[in-house]
């Protein structure tokens, strides 16, 4: 366990050393200040669009951060050759995968908490209100999704270069967000093989739309039933476990070549 935590801590240190998080945070702040400065028709008190757009960017930034960090870890170690001394230590490949996943999940998760804190501070400053129970649920599911995103990127990076792994991860995540929830509607217009292909996508890809409570939070619908939220959370945990297992399968017997820069 200590070895896994050490590996995760190294990922944290890397995030702090690199400037990605600061850039994203500054961008978010700039965007929020621009949105806050608007006074549409002099109406005042209009605040939902600030929370909505802010949360949209928090989602985008957290996913970008998660994918870029997770997809980079293994190819970077291999490219620099640091994988050899790392694996020479008493550490198994499963521990390596788990440590990398833990780091690339918790670091973007912490960044996400920061993004939420900034957004909702601004919303409250502008006179907005939000349901705390719903906020807790939204955060829980957002963080759960980041675990999946990190695991997806890590799984691709076990066999692909950083660029390819990141691209594949974005395609996978994009499809899970946009195509999967549309399948029941798309099937209406299709026949034969296309229907089967769409159903394979529907049941084969994760349903990331279930993790998105932004509309509920922004439009003050209040907290969702906790039973349903916990089911979605567990669904995320299962997907993450499957993807980490796939990562381990992809990495446990991998042979390395020096100079194979990711």
């Amino acid at each position: 366990m200590i070895r896994i935590l050490s590996m995760a801590w190294a990922v944290w240190l890397e995030m702090i050393r690199r400037k990605d998080l600061y850039v994203l945070l500054i961008l978010l702040l700039a965007l929020l200040f621009v949105l806050m400065s608007l006074n549409v028709f002099g109406l005042g008190g209009v605040v939902r669009y600030v929370a909505d757009v802010g949360l949209l960017f928090a989602w985008i930034f957290s996913i970008v951060l998660s994918v870029s960090m997770a997809a980079r870890q293994l190819p970077q170690e291999e490219g620099r050759g640091t994988i050899y001394p790392l694996l020479a230590k008493p550490i198994t490949r499963a521990e390596l995968i788990l440590g990398k996943w833990l780091g690339t999940w918790t670091a973007p998760a912490a960044a996400t908490l920061l993004f939420y804190a900034v957004i909702f501070s601004m919303v409250v400053l502008r006179g907005g209100v939000f349901d705390r129970g719903c906020l807790a649920q939204a955060l829980l599911l957002h963080l759960s999704l980041l675990g999946c995103v990190s695991a997806i990127s890590l799984a691709f990076s076990t066999r692909l270069t950083y660029g390819a792994a990141a691209t594949m991860a974005y395609v996978f995540i994009g499809a899970a967000f946009t195509i999967t929830p549309q399948v029941p509607e798309l099937v209406v217009q299709e026949k034969g093989f296309t229907v089967n292909a769409l159903l394979v996508l529907y049941y084969g890809l994760p349903h990331f739309e279930l993790f998105d409570l932004r509309q509920r939070l922004v439009h003050e619908w209040g907290a969702a039933p906790w039973g349903a939220v916990l089911q979605v959370f567990l669904y995320g945990v299962v997907w993450t476990a499957i993807l980490i297992l796939l990562s381990w399968f992809g990495y446990r017997r991998k042979r390395f070549q020096r100079g194979n820069v990711g």
């Binding site: 690199r18 608007l38 939902r48 509607e185 099937v187 509309q215 509920r216 439009h219 349903a228």
Partner: protein, 289 residues
């Protein structure tokens, strides 16, 4: 990929996000610059997005509609509705047909503003903005400014001119209303299908209002002629039939008629999702024609 590689795409992403923020802010500002000056220039949205701004405008107009339904998106026909994921989604994602309470409708304004900025020819977005500003938010001054901007960008669209005329009719500025109605009638049906039910209703309303204003000026023959034309546009309308009969009998008008005509052709918000189950939080606003 190396750190330099990562930074190389992070910078464009950062620039894109900032540009989006700037575009949003520019689009949502109600400018104090005279509108006729703006209309002759190429808009910022047009310069940045070209023709794709129309699609963006539609998207933002749709977003305003989603906000009007408190984040509930349009429901389309589905091949199956009873699987595990959909039952979970039903519990988590907001659903139902709900409208905002009173001035809560202000929340849709940023998206409508961006929609009109993105596509200044989106007359529906302009009319929707003006309607809510005047009707629920109680800011007729801003509604008038928006309609002036709409007219500047769509000078030959009868719907905008008519909307301005109706506002003036409602406030008793009859001379200006009459001039605008004459102009709107000349431009009817603009780009609308003349057989379209709404277009014909608009025509009947414009003719009736103008006829009423003729009555007020004592020009009964003109008024009768226009009321007959209005009746041709919407045959069988009881109020118009009675008015025509009354005029033919030589009856005099009453000032109460103004209220009557406003009630007959009352403007209403037409919810695109009518037919779905409703849970109106605000029953003050009128629904439908």
């Amino acid at each position: 990929m190396s750190r330099a590689g990562f930074t190389s795409w992070l910078v464009p992403l950062a620039a894109l996000a900032l540009l989006w923020g700037v575009a949003f802010s520019l689009a949502a500002q109600l400018t104090l610059v005279p509108l006729n000056v703006i209309s002759t220039d190429t808009s910022v949205a047009e310069r940045l997005l070209g023709a794709s701004r129309v699609a963006f405008g539609e998207r933002f107009f749709l977003e305003a509609d989603n906000y009007f339904h408190k984040g509930v998106t349009h429901v389309h026909r589905k091949a199956f509705t009873n699987d595990y994921f959909q039952s979970l989604s039903e519990q988590i994602v907001p659903s139902g047909h709900v409208h905002p309470d009173g001035v809560e409708v202000s929340e849709i304004m940023p998206w409508l503003r961006v929609a009109t900025r993105m596509d200044p020819n989106n007359v529906e977005a302009y009319l929707t903005t003006a309607f809510w500003l005047e009707d629920t938010i109680r800011r007729p001054d801003v509604a008038e400014a928006i309609l002036r901007e709409a007219q500047s960008n769509n000078p030959k669209d009868y719907r905008v001119i008519n909307a301005r005329a109706r506002m003036l009719f409602g406030t008793g500025e009859d001379r200006k209303a009459a001039m605008l109605l004459d102009t709107a009638l000349r431009f009817w049906p603009s780009r609308q299908n003349p057989e379209d039910e709404q277009a014909r209703l608009d025509l009947a309303q414009m003719l009736s209002y103008r006829a009423f204003l003729y009555e007020m000026d004592g020009e009964r023959e003109h008024a009768l002629d226009l009321f007959r034309k209005a009746l041709l546009a919407i045959p069988g309308n009881k109020a118009l039939e009675e008015r025509v009969s009354a005029l033919e009998r030589g009856e005099d008008f009453s000032r109460k008629d103004r209220e009557a005509w406003q009630a007959i052709f009352a403007r209403h918000h037409v919810c695109a999702r009518e037919g779905d189950e409703h849970d109106h939080h605000d029953e003050d606003h009128e629904e439908h024609h």
